[in-house]
């Protein structure tokens, strides 16, 4: 197992290098720069700004300078938030996105798993239909509809919760629910599907014939196998919850990294674009590795190789 993980970790390096190179050049070839503004900046000033950020150097030199920098773990200064570095911005905003993602995952698993198990256990009964319908709605209703609806109901009509901001513990409820609900729906459907497949297998029939209780059959025998599809979904889903929180962060005005990730491209904040891309790419690759390890752990038929 150690060799497997070490080899996979080493593979991350060339993957990231390709991503960095592609992003670096792509973002530079987009028209407009970080200092493009409605009111033209005097040329003397423009020259100084470019020199300050090293943009007056040839592109290939800037590229190698940048590679040298990130090898030392320095993602450079941000162009937009002029007195902060990209490292500082990530350190400040990533925890917020992680917390939001954490709550959302908790809600997604807390709702999705039990509902999926119920639906499978009560296959083709009204309970199954209700759970499946809820799942279908969750998948169909986009977050930018659900978010404002929840804000309208709980924030404006009932005035129980803030509709925007990230101040107190209650401010986690609406964004967490909105983001979590969509993933809960996917998890519910995957759990249901996985469980149904396992419940129809011979070893379950054997367990039933031996007189095991239904609860024991589901939790002891079926769940482990039934969760396999959910686990392979979770890896990209966790990375997706972190990157995909842009919409939620905008709707609820949450100072997370998802918004910076998207806005940095509009602002041509070259260093912040690269910083966030590297972070998210790394996260995605790493989560896939975790999923692979989990798969082997849950499924005795797989081996590390």
């Amino acid at each position: 197992m150690f060799r497997f993980v070490a080899r996979r970790l080493l593979q991350i390096i060339p993957v990231l290098l390709v991503i960095i190179t592609a992003t670096f050049f792509m973002v530079r070839f987009v028209p407009g720069g970080p200092f493009t503004a409605e009111k033209a900046i005097p040329p003397e000033i423009m020259k100084n700004l470019e020199a300050h950020y090293g943009l007056d150097q040839p592109l290939w030199r800037q590229y190698f300078t940048y590679l040298g920098q990130i090898a030392r773990g320095d993602l450079g200064p941000s162009f937009k938030y002029s007195n902060r570095t990209v490292n500082e911005i990530i350190a400040q905003k990533l925890p917020v996105s992680l917390e939001l993602g954490g709550w959302a995952m908790l809600i997604a698993l807390g709702l999705g798993l039990p509902l999926g198990v119920f639906a499978a256990a009560r296959h083709n009964t009204w309970l199954d239909y209700v759970c499946s319908a809820v799942g279908m709605i969750g998948i169909c209703v986009p977050t930018f509809v659900l978010g404002p609806l929840l804000a309208l109901f709980f924030g404006i009509y009932l005035q129980w919760l803030n509709v925007s901001g990230w101040y107190g513990p209650t401010d986690r409820i609406l964004p967490g629910l909105t983001l979590g609900f969509v993933y809960a729906a996917y998890i519910m459907r995957l759990t249901r599907g996985g469980m149904l497949e396992v419940l129809n297998q011979d070893f379950i029939r054997t367990a039933r014939a031996k007189g095991a209780s239904e609860t024991r059959i589901i939790f002891r025998h079926a769940l482990r196998g039934g969760l396999l599809p959910v686990v392979s979904f979770l890896g990209p889903a966790i990375a997706g919850i972190l990157t995909g929180s842009f919409v939620i962060e905008t709707i609820f005005q949450i100072p997370g990294l998802g918004r910076e990730f998207v806005n940095s491209a509009f602002n041509r904040d070259y260093t912040l674009v690269l910083g966030t891309v590297i972070l998210y790419a790394g996260l995605l690759v790493f989560m896939n590795l975790v999923v692979d390890v989990m798969q082997v752990w849950l499924n005795p038929r797989l081996k590390f190789e």
């Binding site: 100084n48 700004l49 005035q159 509709v163 100072p255």
Partner: protein, 543 residues
């Protein structure tokens, strides 16, 4: 299994109960603010920095206005310059020398007196190219300022801004600028505290971090207490401000909600007293049901399109006129209701400092004449007219307006144009490099004088971007300021604007409005032409 189901249901009901018990109807931030004199205002995007020399968007002026004070300030209703750090000033007969007397009791937030040297230092800093300030042109009326920035002058004492003594500042201009007292109230002229700036690095370097809470020293009615990245800034009343007795607000929470729908929800749920915008689809609702909170007033802005006059088809003046005459501006404005828009009959917004353009060539709707002109220029009934793009930066409202224009030109001229919406910076880049035919533009005057608008279209003007160059126009713009008499100056403006409307390098559509949602509890807030709202006279009181 059934037992399990019951247990799950029980558990979830307990969780739900706990969750909602925690969040019964609470006092909203606005209600609490009314009690504690805490204003909640949204300013849209987060400022990059609170260094007045480095400000990049006008909407952040509000934060700086709370933190700093210039030589002059503004009357909250008329925006007329009023004494600020300077208690009075004298102007020489030729209008070239201004002598300011500073208040003895003007203090920095650390207790140091605000001196004339502070203003000289701040001007030198902004005019130093290595700082990279985006707004040095607010100083260009000062003798030698432009040369110093460009490196033609290296000794700052040669520039016309000098501290005679601690409390006397003399500013010498290279040409009269009757609007100077107004300009001095703006952010670019705000003083910065030298010792503080130098604490974190050389003063001629940008973004050394001296504006962080705990470090920053300012001289305005409020102090920076907190700056939470992505969440906003909190400023608290400055007890050392010379006019602190008049400041009634104790705190201002500047929110940085960028999404206008989120902003509107925050206002409705009692999180904001004051919004930056109002979503277009909510205007009617507020207008019909809650007219008291919707403030949509005229803004000192002209919304227009620029023609690329350097290439066909718009290098032909007749085509430009035809396109202008074919637009029914009243109808266009009617398609954007409740915003306080006024259809344009000229380029400069009407009634600014008593000037309204009433000369020849006023913009009007005349489809017959429009067709005649287009035919005369070789496109009878629009035949053979190239399918050019109406270019604008991605934005719903720009799109709506461009659609109306597209339709009017199709009906009235028979030309079929395409709509091209471009991402913001791509659009700017194309405009600057003149890679367009017809592109959206807008101009907000920096000071309440027609000159702020007319000076844009001088031949080498950095914001011209149309290829328009007319020596007579340039001469009139230059000479207008030499005329000390207001009525005579306005007559020169009229001549200048007549040239612009004759040549028509731009297509003025309307003068914009600025809609905001304002809590009825906020007093001392007056909607005005430039959206400048000094905080000194504001207070909160619910009824």
């Amino acid at each position: 299994m059934l037992r399990l189901c019951h247990r799950f249901c029980l558990l979830s009901s307990v969780i739900c109960f706990l969750l909602f018990a925690a969040c019964t109807r609470h006092e909203t931030p606005v209600e609490a603010g009314n009690r504690t004199q805490t204003l909640h205002q949204n300013i849209g995007a987060e400022p990059q920095d609170l260094d007045p020399a480095m400000m990049q968007t006008n909407s952040h002026f509000q934060v700086l206005m709370a933190l700093y004070e210039g030589l002059t300030g503004y009357d909250p209703q008329t925006l007329a310059p009023v004494p600020g750090v300077a208690e009075r000033w004298e102007i020489s007969d030729d209008g070239l020398i201004y002598t300011f007397q500073l208040r003895a009791n003007a203090r920095w937030s650390n207790g140091d007196p605000v001196t004339a040297q502070d203003f000289v230092f701040s001007a030198q800093r902004t005019l130093t190219a290595s700082l990279g300030s985006p707004y040095p042109f607010y100083f260009f009326v000062v003798r030698g300022a432009e040369d110093f920035l460009g490196g033609k002058l290296t000794d700052f004492s040669q520039v016309g801004i000098r501290a005679v003594d601690d409390r006397t500042l003399r500013i010498e201009l290279h040409q009269p600028a009757p609007y100077l007292p107004f300009l001095l109230g703006g952010f670019a002229w705000y003083p910065v505290h030298r010792a503080t700036v130098e604490k974190t690095g050389p003063w001629s370097h940008p973004y050394t971090g001296w504006t962080k809470p705990g470090l920053i020293v300012t001289n305005g009615p409020f102090l920076l207490a907190e700056w939470r990245a992505g969440e906003g800034m909190v400023v608290k009343k400055n007890p050392r401000y010379w006019d602190a007795a008049r400041v009634r607000l104790r705190e201002i929470d500047f929110h940085v909600i960028e999404n206008i729908d989120t902003e509107e929800r925050a206002f409705r749920s009692g999180q904001l007293h004051l919004t930056e915008y109002v979503p277009g689809n909510k205007l009617k609702g507020y207008h019909d049901h809650e007219p008291a909170v919707l403030k949509a007033v005229p803004f000192f802005m002209t919304y227009f399109y620029g023609f690329n006059t350097t290439r066909p088809p718009f290098n032909d003046g007749r085509v430009r006129q035809a396109f202008s005459l074919a637009l029914d501006r009243a109808q266009l404005v009617a398609s954007q209701p409740f915003r306080g828009l006024r259809p344009a009959t000229a380029y400069v917004p009407p009634d600014v400092d008593g000037y309204t353009y009433d000369g020849p060539g006023q913009l009007r709707f005349d489809p017959v004449e429009a067709r005649r002109l287009l035919a005369a220029s070789g496109y009878p009934d629009g035949k053979g007219f190239p399918a050019i793009d109406i270019t604008f930066a991605t934005n719903n409202r720009h799109q709506e307006i461009a659609e109306v224009m597209q339709q009017m030109w199709r009906q009235n001229l028979g030309v079929r144009l395409n709509l091209a919406n471009k991402e913001g910076r791509v659009f700017q880049e194309e405009r600057v490099h003149m890679a367009y035919d017809l592109a959206r533009a807008g101009w907000v005057g920096d000071y309440l004088d027609a000159h702020a608008f007319l000076s844009v279209y001088v031949a080498n003007g950095g914001q011209n971007n149309t290829g328009f160059a007319n020596p007579e126009y340039d001469r009139l713009v230059r000479e207008s300021l030499n005329e000390p008499d207001r009525a005579k100056r306005h007559a020169i403006y009229r001549q200048t604007e007549a040239i612009l409307l004759r040549e028509l390098p731009i297509l003025p559509l309307f003068h914009d409005g600025s809609p905001h949602l304002v809590s009825p509890a906020l007093h001392g807030y007056y909607p005005n032409l430039l959206n400048y709202h000094p905080y000194q006279g504001m207070w909160l009181e619910s009824h």
